[in-house]
Protein backbone atom coordinates (compact mmCIF):
# COMPACT_ATOMS: atom_id res chain seq x y z
CA UNK A 1 0.00 0.00 0.00
CA UNK A 2 0.92 3.58 -0.48
CA UNK A 3 1.27 6.15 2.32
CA UNK A 4 2.32 9.78 2.56
CA UNK A 5 4.80 10.59 5.27
CA UNK A 6 5.15 14.08 6.73
CA UNK A 7 8.09 15.21 8.80
CA UNK A 8 8.50 18.32 10.91
CA UNK A 9 11.19 20.47 12.46
CA UNK A 10 14.47 18.63 13.10
CA UNK A 11 13.11 15.37 11.66
CA UNK A 12 12.36 17.22 8.47
CA UNK A 13 15.87 18.64 8.39
CA UNK A 14 17.58 15.31 9.16
CA UNK A 15 15.64 13.50 6.44
CA UNK A 16 15.94 16.45 4.06
CA UNK A 17 12.26 16.25 3.14
CA UNK A 18 8.94 17.34 4.55
CA UNK A 19 6.77 15.02 2.42
CA UNK A 20 7.59 11.52 1.24
CA UNK A 21 5.60 8.87 -0.63
CA UNK A 22 6.39 5.32 0.32
CA UNK A 23 5.13 1.82 -0.39
CA UNK A 24 4.58 -0.34 2.71
CA UNK A 25 3.42 -3.93 3.10
CA UNK A 26 -0.30 -4.34 3.80
CA UNK A 27 -0.99 -4.33 7.53
CA UNK A 28 1.91 -2.02 8.38
CA UNK A 29 1.55 0.08 11.49
CA UNK A 30 2.76 3.64 11.99
CA UNK A 31 5.70 2.14 13.82
CA UNK A 32 6.54 0.00 10.79
CA UNK A 33 6.52 3.15 8.69
CA UNK A 34 8.82 4.80 11.23
CA UNK A 35 11.21 1.85 11.25
CA UNK A 36 11.39 1.88 7.45
CA UNK A 37 12.18 5.57 7.65
CA UNK A 38 14.96 4.99 10.20
CA UNK A 39 16.46 2.37 7.89
CA UNK A 40 16.46 4.96 5.16
CA UNK A 41 17.62 7.92 7.30
CA UNK A 42 19.66 6.50 10.21
CA UNK A 43 20.19 10.01 11.62
CA UNK A 44 16.56 10.13 12.83
CA UNK A 45 16.99 6.94 14.86
CA UNK A 46 17.62 8.95 18.04
CA UNK A 47 13.96 9.94 17.96
CA UNK A 48 12.61 6.40 18.13
CA UNK A 49 11.82 6.74 21.83
CA UNK A 50 10.42 10.31 21.74
CA UNK A 51 8.60 10.58 18.42
CA UNK A 52 4.82 11.09 18.28
CA UNK A 53 2.65 10.41 15.30
CA UNK A 54 -0.55 11.60 13.72
CA UNK A 55 -2.52 9.69 11.13
CA UNK A 56 -4.69 11.75 8.77
CA UNK A 57 -4.25 14.84 10.94
CA UNK A 58 -5.29 13.20 14.20
CA UNK A 59 -2.95 12.14 16.97
CA UNK A 60 -2.53 8.37 16.88
CA UNK A 61 -0.57 5.64 18.63
CA UNK A 62 2.41 4.13 16.84
CA UNK A 63 0.56 0.82 16.96
CA UNK A 64 -2.16 2.23 14.69
CA UNK A 65 -2.60 0.12 11.54
CA UNK A 66 -2.24 2.15 8.36
CA UNK A 67 -4.45 1.91 5.30
CA UNK A 68 -3.69 2.62 1.70
CA UNK A 69 -3.69 6.38 1.10
CA UNK A 70 -3.12 7.33 4.73
CA UNK A 71 -1.00 10.31 5.68
CA UNK A 72 1.24 9.62 8.66
CA UNK A 73 3.06 12.51 10.31
CA UNK A 74 6.03 12.05 12.62
CA UNK A 75 6.52 14.71 15.26
CA UNK A 76 9.65 15.33 17.30
CA UNK A 77 9.07 16.57 20.88
CA UNK A 78 7.11 19.80 20.66
CA UNK A 79 8.09 23.26 21.86
CA UNK A 80 5.23 25.64 21.12
CA UNK A 81 4.20 28.52 23.32
Amino acid sequence: MHVTIRLFARLRELAGASDLSRQLPEGSSARDAWNALVAEFPAIGDYSRTVSCAVNEEYARLTTALKDGDEVAFLPPVSGG
Binding site: F8, A9, E58, Y59, L75, P77, V78, S79, G80
Partner: protein, 156 residues
Amino acid sequence: MGAYAVTAGPLDPAAVAGLVARDGDGAVATFVGLVRDHNAGRRVLWLDYEAFEPLALKAFERIGDEAAAKWPDVAIAIHHRTGRVAIGEASVAIAAASPHRADAFAACRYAIERIKQIAPIWKHEHFEGGEVWIEGATADPSDERARQTALERACT
Protein backbone atom coordinates in the same frame (compact mmCIF):
# COMPACT_ATOMS: atom_id res chain seq x y z
CA MET B 1 -10.00 35.03 13.05
CA GLY B 2 -11.84 32.57 15.23
CA ALA B 3 -11.12 31.45 18.76
CA TYR B 4 -8.34 29.13 17.57
CA ALA B 5 -5.81 30.25 15.03
CA VAL B 6 -2.33 29.57 13.68
CA THR B 7 -1.07 32.53 11.72
CA ALA B 8 2.09 33.87 10.12
CA GLY B 9 1.15 37.48 10.91
CA PRO B 10 1.66 39.44 14.13
CA LEU B 11 -0.69 38.51 16.98
CA ASP B 12 -3.18 40.96 18.47
CA PRO B 13 -3.69 39.99 22.13
CA ALA B 14 -6.44 42.60 22.59
CA ALA B 15 -8.37 41.06 19.69
CA VAL B 16 -7.91 37.60 21.20
CA ALA B 17 -9.31 38.90 24.51
CA GLY B 18 -12.19 40.48 22.61
CA LEU B 19 -13.17 37.06 21.24
CA VAL B 20 -14.01 35.60 24.64
CA ALA B 21 -15.71 38.18 26.86
CA ARG B 22 -19.49 38.01 27.25
CA ASP B 23 -21.77 40.31 29.27
CA GLY B 24 -21.86 37.88 32.17
CA ASP B 25 -18.08 37.80 32.50
CA GLY B 26 -16.31 39.68 35.23
CA ALA B 27 -12.78 38.53 34.46
CA VAL B 28 -10.51 38.08 31.48
CA ALA B 29 -7.09 36.58 32.09
CA THR B 30 -4.64 36.61 29.22
CA PHE B 31 -1.23 35.16 28.61
CA VAL B 32 1.16 36.38 25.95
CA GLY B 33 4.37 34.49 25.25
CA LEU B 34 7.15 36.75 24.03
CA VAL B 35 10.42 35.89 22.33
CA ARG B 36 13.18 36.52 24.86
CA ASP B 37 16.61 37.89 24.01
CA HIS B 38 18.30 35.05 25.89
CA ASN B 39 17.80 31.37 26.57
CA ALA B 40 19.97 28.85 28.37
CA GLY B 41 22.88 31.30 28.41
CA ARG B 42 22.64 32.00 24.66
CA ARG B 43 22.01 35.40 23.13
CA VAL B 44 18.91 34.78 21.02
CA LEU B 45 18.54 36.61 17.68
CA TRP B 46 15.09 35.39 16.62
CA LEU B 47 12.91 32.31 16.60
CA ASP B 48 11.37 30.51 13.65
CA TYR B 49 8.17 28.69 14.57
CA GLU B 50 6.97 25.71 12.56
CA ALA B 51 3.53 24.17 13.04
CA PHE B 52 1.57 21.22 11.73
CA GLU B 53 -1.31 23.59 11.30
CA PRO B 54 -4.44 21.42 10.98
CA LEU B 55 -3.35 19.30 13.94
CA ALA B 56 -2.39 22.39 15.94
CA LEU B 57 -5.89 23.79 15.47
CA LYS B 58 -7.35 20.49 16.65
CA ALA B 59 -5.00 20.54 19.64
CA PHE B 60 -6.19 24.04 20.57
CA GLU B 61 -9.78 22.92 20.22
CA ARG B 62 -9.06 19.93 22.42
CA ILE B 63 -7.45 22.18 25.04
CA GLY B 64 -10.51 24.45 24.92
CA ASP B 65 -12.76 21.43 25.40
CA GLU B 66 -10.67 20.16 28.31
CA ALA B 67 -10.89 23.61 29.92
CA ALA B 68 -14.66 23.78 29.33
CA ALA B 69 -15.08 20.39 30.98
CA LYS B 70 -13.13 21.54 34.02
CA TRP B 71 -14.42 25.15 34.15
CA PRO B 72 -17.85 25.16 32.46
CA ASP B 73 -18.25 28.96 32.59
CA VAL B 74 -14.92 29.73 30.92
CA ALA B 75 -14.52 30.74 27.26
CA ILE B 76 -11.05 30.40 25.75
CA ALA B 77 -9.22 31.64 22.65
CA ILE B 78 -5.73 30.66 21.49
CA HIS B 79 -3.73 32.25 18.67
CA HIS B 80 -0.24 31.01 17.83
CA ARG B 81 2.20 32.55 15.43
CA THR B 82 4.40 30.74 12.89
CA GLY B 83 7.43 31.79 10.88
CA ARG B 84 10.05 34.26 12.03
CA VAL B 85 9.31 36.03 15.31
CA ALA B 86 11.60 38.81 16.52
CA ILE B 87 12.73 39.48 20.09
CA GLY B 88 9.92 41.07 22.06
CA GLU B 89 7.21 39.89 19.66
CA ALA B 90 4.38 37.61 20.69
CA SER B 91 4.52 33.95 19.74
CA VAL B 92 1.28 32.96 21.45
CA ALA B 93 -1.74 34.81 22.88
CA ILE B 94 -4.33 33.14 25.08
CA ALA B 95 -7.44 34.66 26.64
CA ALA B 96 -9.82 33.10 29.16
CA ALA B 97 -13.02 34.85 30.22
CA SER B 98 -15.23 33.83 33.11
CA PRO B 99 -17.77 35.27 35.51
CA HIS B 100 -15.14 34.78 38.24
CA ARG B 101 -11.42 35.49 38.21
CA ALA B 102 -10.18 32.27 39.79
CA ASP B 103 -11.48 30.22 36.87
CA ALA B 104 -10.18 32.67 34.28
CA PHE B 105 -6.66 32.54 35.73
CA ALA B 106 -6.70 28.77 36.10
CA ALA B 107 -7.99 28.09 32.59
CA CYS B 108 -5.50 30.51 31.03
CA ARG B 109 -2.57 28.90 32.83
CA TYR B 110 -3.88 25.43 32.02
CA ALA B 111 -4.06 26.34 28.34
CA ILE B 112 -0.43 27.46 28.04
CA GLU B 113 0.77 24.37 29.92
CA ARG B 114 -1.23 22.12 27.59
CA ILE B 115 -0.04 23.97 24.50
CA LYS B 116 3.53 23.29 25.54
CA GLN B 117 2.64 19.63 26.06
CA ILE B 118 0.57 18.75 23.02
CA ALA B 119 0.48 21.46 20.34
CA PRO B 120 2.43 20.26 17.24
CA ILE B 121 4.56 23.40 17.09
CA TRP B 122 8.35 23.72 17.19
CA LYS B 123 10.67 26.61 17.82
CA HIS B 124 13.91 26.87 15.91
CA GLU B 125 16.15 29.13 17.93
CA HIS B 126 18.69 31.28 16.12
CA PHE B 127 21.29 32.52 18.55
CA GLU B 128 24.63 34.27 18.34
CA GLY B 129 26.84 31.57 16.88
CA GLY B 130 24.34 28.97 15.79
CA GLU B 131 20.85 27.56 15.75
CA VAL B 132 19.04 24.78 17.54
CA TRP B 133 15.64 23.14 17.45
CA ILE B 134 14.06 23.37 20.90
CA GLU B 135 12.49 20.08 21.88
CA GLY B 136 10.30 19.79 24.93
CA ALA B 137 7.60 17.25 25.53
CA THR B 138 6.73 14.15 23.51
CA ALA B 139 3.26 15.14 22.37
CA ASP B 140 0.66 12.71 23.71
CA PRO B 141 -2.81 14.14 24.33
CA SER B 142 -3.90 10.97 26.10
CA ASP B 143 -1.08 11.14 28.67
CA GLU B 144 -3.09 11.68 31.85
CA ARG B 145 0.00 12.32 33.96
CA ALA B 146 0.92 15.27 31.77
CA ARG B 147 -2.63 16.59 32.02
CA GLN B 148 -2.44 16.29 35.79
CA THR B 149 0.77 18.34 35.78
CA ALA B 150 -0.99 21.05 33.77
CA LEU B 151 -3.89 21.07 36.24
CA GLU B 152 -1.49 21.37 39.16
CA ARG B 153 0.30 24.30 37.55
CA ALA B 154 -3.11 25.90 37.01
CA CYS B 155 -3.41 25.79 40.78
CA THR B 156 -6.57 23.70 40.97
